[in-house]
Subunit: 240 residues, 2 copies
């Protein structure tokens, strides 16, 4: 599987005219539409996930070595909280208790957070950038399988820059300042991607077609997600 | 001094028609107007302070034992970040680099944060509630000494609920659930208030009248701040 990922990534890298986000989002949307969970579990896990992304950003703000980085990252945190509040509002709109809808996903996502915590602010920064990027791509694509009105609103909540530009700027500055961190951070990124793809995999509905889908549809869509991630990392000088 | 604080607090508690915030804010505004720093240092330290309050809330979200508490506290964090972004925008409007304006206050406020961190989520919650409450009162009042237009805008940024209702609700639930924590939290609150008043004291401009002001004006204004704090704590069943 890893070999396939590598091959796909390289062939895709030859088509830089399409932005990573739209390409990966489109692949998930087309391939995995039938595996989109119902509205409540979709919103519940996306809602809890934005809390996890926010907590990571909170640690990044606390660990940031400069005031400029702190205030820039706080903007990223505010953007992720905006997405969280939007998802919570959708749950309320469905007449569902938001906490009850998020609860079933708590243990797994807390465990994901623990595994991807990062030892210092450089690693925390990579965690924030990588997890926000890949999981925004994935959940934005997956939202396409929701009912039309909800699908559009959720895509609007997720498929905009939720702090990624800020994170990219901070990460770029960090690597320029200390090029030797690049290989360490690249290694950290490779460790993160496996856990992140497992979170994406476990978010899919296990419907009647799930078994077939796991070979035919999931792999191409996940290759696109990893390809988009790799291109983002490459652009920062980090070999994914 | 502590005895004076106690006496004032009790006499004020007899006038519950005035909300703590407006009373304390008014006292600071009237007594300390001449000690308001210039726009840049005012916004710089209020800006950095909102980052500190945000980092505390980030830790509260991470430490919260339930999903409901997490999502409620994330709303408080979003509100504090809104204030932070507004203060940063005012610095940009003055043609000042926000990070440069905040930097001089970083070391002192980071030290304040370290001292007031809290050992578990109950203590973090008290830290968030107490520091947000007292320092919002103080900086809102102190903003009255800024130039008229700026004074109004800053008061509007600070003198609205910046997550305090959410924090109060969480704290109330926690105490009801486990009444024995009340005395421990009350003790923690008493430890916090001294450090918090030092932050307020050091925010005052050291102008020519500062020496006189320190006896005549600072003490009454600070008594009001502590009184407002005590009434909030009393209302939760925590003896301040």
């Amino acid at each position: 599987v890893l070999r396939l990922f590598r091959r796909r990534r390289r062939s895709r890298a030859a088509a830089p005219t399409i932005t990573p986000r739209s390409e990966a989002v489109a692949a998930v949307r087309v391939e995995l539409a039938e595996l989109t969970p119902a509205a409540e579990p979709f919103l519940g896990q996306a809602g809890y996930l934005t809390l996890v992304l926010f907590e990571n950003l909170g640690r990044a703000v606390a660990a940031a070595p400069t005031t400029a980085a702190k205030t820039a990252l706080s903007r990223a945190a505010a953007q992720v909280l905006e997405a969280h509040e939007g998802l919570v509002a959708e749950l309320v709109g469905l007449g569902v208790d938001p906490a009850a809808a998020m609860d079933p996903f708590r243990e797994r996502l807390d465990e994901y957070q623990r595994r991807t915590e990062g030892a210092d602010w450089a690693e925390i920064l990579v965690t924030c950038y990588l997890t926000t990027g890949v999981l925004s791509d994935f959940f934005t694509g997956l939202a396409g399988g929701l009912a039309p009105g909800l699908a559009d609103r959720v895509a609007l909540l997720l498929d905009v820059d939720r702090g990624e530009r800020v994170l990219e700027g901070e990460l770029r500055a960090l690597i320029e300042q200390n090029p030797r961190t690049a290989s360490r951070l690249a290694m950290w990124g490779r460790r993160l991607i496996g856990d992140t793809m497992l979170v994406a995999r476990s978010a899919l509905a296990a419907g009647p077609g799930a078994a077939d889908a796991s070979t035919d549809r999931i792999e191409p869509a996940f290759n696109e997600l990893i390809g988009a991630h790799s291109r983002r990392m490459d652009a920062l000088g980090l070999t994914a």
